[in-house]
């Protein structure tokens, strides 16, 4: 069939996941952290759909991936609203300055 197989797709998912984690850990811009979250969720989605295609699990993987997409959109909307509030209060989006709750 000339197929690339499950492993190759899992590798792509792993690279997306690691890039998202590093992005979340190193960026100081709040929007950059949001982009890292999107990358992580997409890596998980690639894994879901690859397992749905190459095993007998069927459409369960694709349904879960659709829920993940919807929840990611909701998360982006709320996080952006919080980021705008943060910017209104601090005049910056640098997350290192959000330490007012620091005991």
């Amino acid at each position: 069939m000339g197929d690339v197989g499950l492993g190759a797709y899992l590798m792509v998912g792993a690279v997306l996941f690691v890039c998202g984690v590093v992005c979340m850990a190193t960026k100081r811009n709040g929007i950059g952290i949001l982009m890292g979250v999107e990358l992580v969720l997409n890596g998980a989605n690639v894994n879901f759909v690859a397992f749905s295609r190459y095993t007998s699990l069927g459409l369960d993987g694709q349904s879960t991936a659709l829920f993940v997409v919807v929840l990611a959109a909701a998360e982006a909307a709320v996080a952006l609203a919080i980021a705008l509030n943060f910017y209104n209060n601090h005049l910056t989006i640098d997350v290192d300055r959000g330490n007012e709750l620091h005991g």
Partner: protein, 224 residues
């Protein structure tokens, strides 16, 4: 052959876009590379025969979420702290930890024989993917006849053929015509995703109201 080539092209675009998102410091360029990466993920979904999911990825992520992020960048990019740089030491440390994490993941993926593992999944109780009701009896018959796991997987993939819209829609309405829980000729449809679908709808509504409430126009603290 062409499928393999397309896979490698889009896999390289996906990984390269993700790495560029991490490596770039400018937020607008990060958004551009995010579009490249997410669009290539949608292409990978199409290659995985998930046509509806690929279209949804293009519409929701590339058309919605990234536009939302770009608007966030525009609304927050003015002011005294426009350029927020990561210090090189932090970047190096992050790259090292990320490389180690990638090594762990890749080595554990490579150490599993996925064909053998997936052949141990219960194939028999679940009926095959049928893209059409007409095909159903023929498909079940041929699936019973072919015994080996790889043959079954190939058959399932060929019968699925990418037309997933009807099955996904019926699954979200609580019906799973593609999955039969009972053996033999008996019919016992698997439960679908009706309750999670309703919960996620209410969740989306609540989230949008909450986001509008949080981001409503207010006076700045030091301006009032």
């Amino acid at each position: 052959m062409i499928e393999q080539m397309l896979f490698w092209v889009f896999a390289i675009l996906t990984c390269g876009g993700a790495i560029a998102v991490v490596a770039t410091q400018n937020v607008v360029r990060m958004a551009f590379w995010l579009v490249v990466s997410l669009g290539s993920v949608a292409a990978l979904f199409f290659l995985l025969h998930a046509d509806f999911l690929g279209a949804a990825q293009l519409l929701i992520y590339v058309g919605g979420t990234v536009v939302l992020l770009v608007f966030g960048v525009m609304l927050t990019a003015s002011g005294p702290y426009t350029q927020i740089q990561t210090s090189p030491a932090e970047g190096l440390l992050g790259a090292g930890v990320g490389g180690l994490l990638l090594f762990v993941l890749v080595s554990s993926i490579g150490s599993v024989d996925w064909v053998e593992v997936s052949s141990r999944l219960p194939l028999e109780p679940s009926a095959p993917f049928v893209s059409d009701v007409r095909l159903e009896s023929r498909a079940e018959e041929s699936l019973v006849n072919t015994r080996s796991a790889e043959e079954k997987q190939g058959l399932i993939a060929r019968q699925q053929g990418g037309r997933t819209v009807r099955q996904l829609g019926m699954g979200f309405l609580g019906l799973r015509p593609d999955r039969n829980l009972k053996e033999g000729g008996a019919r016992g449809l698997a439960p679908g995703y009706f309750l999670p679908f309703e919960i996620v709808s209410i969740h989306l509504l609540v989230v949008l109201i909450g986001a509008a409430y949080l981001a409503r126009a207010k006076r700045r603290v030091n301006a009032g």
